[in-house]
Amino acid sequence: MIDLVPLYLSAKLALVTTAILLMIGAALAYPLAMSRFAGKSLCEAFINLPLVLPPTVLGFFLLMLMGPRAVLGRAWQALFGSGLLFTFTALVMASIIYSLPFVVQPMKTAFTRIDKRLIENAYVLGLSPLKTFFRVILPNSLGGVAAGAILVFLHTLGEFGVILMVGGSMPGETKVASIAIYEAVEALRYQDAWILSALLIPTSYIFLLVSYRVFRSE
């Protein structure tokens, strides 16, 4: 009987990452789209770094940062009394950093397209900048937000290098579908690899199809 827990973990990781990244992405994309400030290009380049870095390089840096003797690892140990590395939380943190550009870019593009006069009209009508964001900017950027969410979900579903570095392959904790497929192939359990891969394809395809539709309507 094939173990379907890795698929469940992949979906859980993708959902949690997407939910957190929607909030972080909006908070980062908004000032990038609407304001001019010193160091804006530096910020954008830093956010987009995961696009060009090999996943193993990013994973290696995160491994060094989350280790029991590293700053983040030690702080985590002190706060929660357990190690960070090779946990589901470490996977979520790594996924957030790895997929950050995939949510910031579409959101930034959507926010940039908002007519500035709509924002000014909202201000004149008494809305604070925060209320304007939720009542005017966000409802008129839903395409970009949805596109970002779908891209992050798919990207997280397909992660391998970063996850292997910071999560290893702990069954029921960090052994997600991509790792399980890799291990199945390594152990010559091709039938398991076939089934897991075949289950991932329609999921990814449907989400990608929706993403294209959203992009086209945008």
Binding site: L118, E120, N121, Y123, V124, L125, P139, N140
Partner: protein, 242 residues
């Protein structure tokens, strides 16, 4: 108590330096050529731009006093602003737009009926005509029960017939509202028709002779027009706007 302002604001090429006042129930028309700084003046009154120096008071409240360091943000001024282009929120229906910042929904509904667009209440802004959108924008601005109403070339993007109808509506509304209305236009006829007072603005400054010159050129009989020394008038205009 109406609205009174003295504004100084440097723009590229000239400095806006203007004093204006408008009483409740009155309409002040700022008229002048494109690029004269009229919209910037409205933006300063609305709080969307800060003047370099000056003061603005409305209904007994001080909105701006640069000397005393007072600056009230646009959110706190409670005024209505109808922009030149259509700025209704595209994700909302006309009724939702009108009620967006309304004191209560009933006020917004009454305004939609008053401005004859109640039948369009369920439509989105992109499904109605330009004139209907501007009516809806006026409803949105008035539903907040504003202390003053600012109109930035509200009819410039409309066809002649719609423009005429809306002017009539505005003229009727003016007496009902009993708030100061400041209206910006480049159309002198519109300013003269709507305005209880007209303030001609050229390069950010009051330019009464420019207005006079325009009227004289436009309205004098050909026989009279021939007797005027236009070159001298032109010099006066240059002096005034320098």
């Amino acid at each position: 108590m109406g609205i009174a302002a003295k504004i100084r604001l440097p723009r590229s090429g000239f400095t806006i330096d203007l004093e204006l006042a408008c009483a409740p129930g009155k309409l002040l028309s700022l008229v002048g050529p494109s690029g004269a700084g009229k919209t910037s003046i409205l933006r300063v009154l609305a709080g969307l731009e800060k003047p370099a120096s000056g003061h603005i008071t409305c209904g007994g409240f001080t909105w701006v006093d640069t000397a005393a360091g007072v600056y009230v943000p646009p959110q706190k001024r409670r005024l209505g602003y109808v922009f030149q282009e259509f700025t209704l929120f595209p994700h909302l229906t006309i009724r939702e737009n009108a009620a967006f910042a309304a004191k209560n929904r009933q006020t917004a509904d009454e305004l939609l009926k008053r401005l004859k667009i109640w039948h369009l209440r369920g439509a989105r802004p992109d499904k109605i005509s330009g004139g209907e959108r501007q009516r809806a924008a006026i409803c949105q601005a008035l539903a907040r029960i504003p202390r003053a109403l600012l109109l930035d070339e509200p009819f410039s993007a409309l066809d002649a017939l719609t423009r005429r109808n809306l002017r009539e509506e505005l003229k009727a509304l003016k007496t009902e509202l009993n708030i100061p209305i400041i209206h910006v236009t480049h159309d002198i006829r519109e300013a003269l028709y709507l305005g209880d007072e007209v303030l001609p603005v050229v390069q950010g400054k009051a330019a009464h002779k420019w207005m006079l010159q325009f009227l004289m050129r436009d309205r004098l009989s050909p026989a009279c027009r021939g007797r005027i020394d236009w070159e001298h008038e032109e010099e006066l205009y240059q002096e005034e706007t320098a």
